[in-house]
């Protein structure tokens, strides 16, 4: 149990996907202009991460390891994640339209998100058990959502601030990202 807590906290704060591992940086700058869309993106990523971890754990442990072709992790995981996202999108579109529109464009965008591939590969290299994989995925997704929400909150306020003309938009966002990253470095080495 304490092991799971350590994995969870490590994924949320210490080895945060965006600010420490530098994965999923495209949505970090692309979808962090509004708090609402940032949180939708975060929830969608968390959801896909959890499902992808489950599926890739099963495939790795029941197909790849017995056949001794673990070196094909990446290509097979990409395939599985892409399929999974397509299936989820189709399923949601056919059963729950409200959910489909609240996920909107974010779900198909996640197909090629490196944070999702990242969590599956981390699970594989760490040899996590099924429960550990799921906890790591949830923690990673939560950390992703947390940083996206922080960033979008700050950027919403920055729109109103008196920023020099040459610093408006992305330049100041990069500086904010650096400061956030610096803050998260403070967590390193706790566990």
């Amino acid at each position: 149990m304490s092991n799971l807590v350590a994995i969870f906290l490590g994924m949320v704060l210490i080895n945060n996907f965006i600010l420490v591992r530098f994965l999923g940086l495209c949505p970090f700058f692309g979808v962090s202009k509004q708090l609402g869309s940032a949180i939708s993106m975060g929830v969608a990523v968390t959801f896909v991460m959890a499902i992808a971890s489950l599926a890739t754990w099963l495939i790795r442990n029941y197909i790849l390891i017995p056949l001794d072709i673990e070196y094909m992790n990446i290509v097979i995981f990409i395939l599985v994640i892409a399929t999974l996202v397509q299936i989820i999108e189709l399923f949601i579109k056919k059963t729950n339209l409200g959910l489909y529109f609240s996920f909107g464009i974010y779900l198909p965008l996640i197909t090629t998100n490196c944070a999702v591939l990242g969590i599956t590969l981390i699970n594989a290299t760490q040899n996590y058990s099924l429960s550990s994989s799921l906890v790591a995925a949830l923690g990673g997704g939560l950390g992703f959502t947390l940083v996206l929400a922080m960033m979008s909150g700050i950027r919403e306020k920055l729109e109103l601030a008196n920023t020099p003309k040459s610093m408006k938009g992305l330049p100041i966002a990069f500086i904010i990202a650096a400061l956030l990253g610096l803050a998260f470095v403070g967590f390193s080495g706790i566990i």
């Binding site: 097979i76 599985v80 299936i87 056919k94």
Partner: protein, 281 residues
Amino acid sequence: MPIGILAAIGLACGLIIYLVYIKVPQKVKGLEKTEEITSILPGMNCGACGYPGCFAYAQALSQDPELVTKTPCSQVLQDPDSLARLEKALGCKLDAAAMCKKALVHCGGNSEVICDYSGAPTCKAAAQLLRGYKKCPYACLGLGDCVEICPQGAISIDPEKGVAVVDPDKCTGCGLCVTECPQELIELVPGGTKIAFLCNYKPLKNIPGRERCDYGCIHCRKCFNACEFGAIEWNKETALPEFDQEKCTLCLKCIEACPQNTLADFTKLGKEKEAELAAAK
């Protein structure tokens, strides 16, 4: 062997997607209309209508068909065939000519050039230096940023006046030139516009027509007095004429009355030059 497994997993994935597509029943109703409208829309996801993509636009239209008159899709308006299909899908009559927006350059050109500009040949670069090299700071610089960006080839530069002219027949009202122009001269006007007002000079104090440009509005009200049909209103705040396109009979009396040539026949814009070129050939 590994290749075989990869292929097998790939095939299995494809099969699962196909099965989900076929087997999961479509429980949700109400998307049919949206999908019907989506099939009519161009599918370019250009966002000119103000919605994030054609699907979102179709969804908004399926809920409120009246939206089409407020934010029409300029691509559909160009194509009578898809317009007819959209009319059928929405169940309302659409007046394409009135809804279709056209770009209009609010400058008659001929503002005096006050210095030699030999920098980068774009309006954006020239506008950085004291708002251009013409006497009127609101003038069209005529370096053709809008000509470059126009996908329809509807904009040309009049070489005598040094001003961009939009041909309303070719313009689809996509609005790309509006954002491109650094002088903020171009405006989207309704397709049924009859009289074009060709001046963008904003301050009311020193009248530009006399000292800055041969074509600037001097706020003399002659057009307002010349109109027999009450189609011109005088806006007291901006001291500019405002045209009521429905009352206008296109008698062109206001254009004759204007001492500055600030007014022009909108429907003939961009045509004179072409006619001249054709005659020269």
